[in-house]
């Protein structure tokens, strides 16, 4: 026999219930073991039941459930260099693309105008994005970066000496999945660059960063002059805490 049913379309899918407990055992040399325990109700109280070892697959399923917006799966493009949790590191090969500046009155004359933009050559770039960081460095050459690749300060305004991008009013994409890489690139390269961020040299160029970009926009360079990049004395592997070959 059938029965009529009544539903309320105010989904409670956002509600999470205490179902399991994970106990984590750390070893001295970085080893770890986790056990998963069902939560049972005994006399109206929640108790931790007997557990079983958490398999790598169960750990990955749990990680996926915890990081829905950063879940990775499927083929990876060759520009993706590194992934760990919600951190994704990718490379943008050297290319010519449009860049726009909006500088203050003080530098407008030296810059050749308050607002300028044009298609110019760019160096190779390495971006890192996660829920907490958004950083960028420059790399030399046209080859895909490896852990041994030296990193350089990006020559752009609005990025500090540690590669942190000043977000300002730029809306950033939600999530750090492979599909969002183009959106992250656009969020950076299609925003207005307004001012150098903090102390430190952006470029090794006579007259400094304003002079360099004025001449770039004036079309002085057909290829990006890599000699102007400032070495940050760090490799990509060093940044990520890994050494070449690991």
């Amino acid at each position: 026999m059938n029965q009529a049913e009544f539903s309320i379309q105010a989904p409670s899918a956002g509600t999470v219930h205490l179902r399991r407990a994970v106990l984590i055992y750390d070893g001295q040399q970085g080893s770890a073991l986790a056990t998963v325990h069902d939560i049972e109700e005994v006399d109206g109280e929640a108790v931790i039941g007997a557990g079983q070892a958490m398999t790598p697959r169960a750990a990955m399923d749990l990680a996926r459930a915890l990081l829905k917006r950063t879940a990775h799966g499927g083929f990876l493009p060759e520009t993706v260099l590194y992934m760990d949790g919600d951190l994704i590191v990718w490379w943008v090969p050297p290319a010519r693309c449009h860049i726009a500046f909006r500088v203050d009155e003080e530098h407008a004359e030296a810059f050749g105008g308050r607002e300028r933009g044009d298609s110019v050559p760019h160096p190779g770039l390495v971006f890192a994005a996660s829920g907490r960081v958004w950083r960028v460095w420059a790399v030399k050459g046209v080859g895909r970066p490896t852990p041994a690749t030296p990193l350089f300060q990006v020559p752009y305004f609005n990025v500090d000496v540690r590669g942190n991008i000043c977000q300002g009013n730029v809306p950033v994409p939600e999530g750090t999945t492979v599909e969002k890489i183009a959106a992250w690139n656009d969020a950076f390269l299609r925003s207005y660059f307004t001012h150098p961020n903090g102390p430190g040299k952006l470029v090794r160029y006579r007259g400094g960063a304003y002079a360099f970009w004025r001449e770039m926009l004036d079309g002085r360079f057909r290829r990006f002059p890599e000699r102007v990049l400032v070495d940050v004395k760090m490799t990509l592997g060093g940044l990520l805490g890994i050494t070449e070959g690991t």
Binding site: N2, E5, F6, S7, A10, S12, T15, L18, I48
Partner: protein
């Protein structure tokens, strides 16, 4: 010896965590239903952790009590939250909308799983016992189901066929002219493939293909009373009594849906014989409807959040419709011999 005790989780650890926006939305709906006195206290589950789910269970219990067990139909009633702009509250696992301006609740109903029920043999058997009884019962079914639980009956199948296949004409000739011109061979090939007028005539008796103009419920009721009085066969008598009870219900179109687009909210497909052309026409109608705007709600009511009493009034007004659903279900069950 130390007793073995399972480790307890401190009461400070929450057993359930819900996004704030969702909690606010749930609380609004729960308060609305309680103020509407939408269910009895006894319908509320003894223990619950989610007020909205408790309300849903209570409403579900109330509905099941109202309609009872069914043989053929499986109605689904739903309650939606609606904003002042008329938008529905939608949330599928991402962040619940934060600035949703709740304004009203909308109740609607539809069939969960419509199926084909062949009723031809049952109706013909009744007409063999009492001439005209099958025709009257079919008319009561389609007339009384129209505003509460619409059925896809042979007359609707024939009507749909005219605009699905025949360009709105009385037969397929205009469609053949349009597609094949004067090419007789091509016309015959297409006629064989398509649902033609001959297909419908071969499938449904003439008295099922058209809505009998002028036949009112009062006349049907008089006919059924006479049939019951003179009928000795208990099965035929039971069907006529069921139809009479259905015909006696006062059902208007108060809660008609207000949705543009093709109507496909049918509760069941009443074919004449199993697997006949009715289901093909029904499927083609669904395919056409799903290419644009369509409506699959049988009825709906929108109640402002600040007028919970109107929801209770709707519940009371549904009593005769619930009875109709129950009786429509029993009639289909009788006529299709429980298939």
């Amino acid at each position: 010896m130390m007793a073995l005790v399972l480790p307890r989780i401190a009461p400070q650890v929450p057993r359930t965590i819900a996004p704030g926006a969702l909690l606010a939305a749930n609380a609004t709906v729960s308060r609305f239903l309680i103020e509407a006195e939408a269910f009895d206290e006894s319908d509320i589950p003894a223990t619950w952790s989610d007020s909205l789910d408790a309300c849903r269970q209570a409403l579900d219990g109330w509905l099941k009590r109202q309609i009872g067990a069914l043989h053929c139909l499986k109605p689904r009633f739903a309650l939606h939250m609606v904003s002042s702009d008329g938008d529905y509250y939608r949330y599928y696992g991402g962040q619940p909308p934060k600035d949703f301006d709740f304004d009203a609740m909308e109740a609607s109903w539809c069939e969960c799983h419509e199926q084909e029920w062949p009723v031809g043999a049952g109706l013909e058997a009744l007409s063999a016992r009492v001439p005209g009884l099958g025709s009257v019962i079919l008319h009561v079914l389609r007339r009384q189901s129209a505003f509460v639980y619409p059925l896809f009956t042979p007359d609707i199948a024939c009507d749909v066929a005219t605009y699905l296949y025949w360009c709105g004409e009385e037969d397929e000739e205009a469609a053949l002219d349009m597609n094949c011109g004067e090419d007789e061979e091509e016309r015959e090939a297409m006629r064989t493939e398509m649902v033609s007028k001959a297909t419908l005539e071969a499938c449904f008796p003439a008295w099922t293909r058209r809505w009998p103009r002028g036949l009112e419920l009062a006349q049907c009721a008089r006919f059924l009373r006479r049939a019951i009085k003179h009928q000795s066969d208990p099965s035929a008598k039971a069907v006529a009594e069921e139809a009479l009870a259905l015909a006696s219900l006062d059902i208007d179109d108060s809660f008609r849906h207000d949705i543009d687009g093709e109507f496909v909210g049918f509760g069941a497909v009443l074919s004449w014989t199993e697997g006949d052309v009715t289901t093909r026409i029904y499927d083609d109608l669904l395919n056409l409807a799903h290419q644009g705007e369509y409506c699959e709600h049988m009825g709906e009511v929108r109640v402002p959040l600040d007028d919970p009493g109107a929801f209770g009034a709707w519940q009371r007004a549904m009593a005769s419709r619930f009875e109709a659903i129950r009786r429509i279900d029993r009639l289909i069950h009788h006529l299709s011999a429980g298939n």
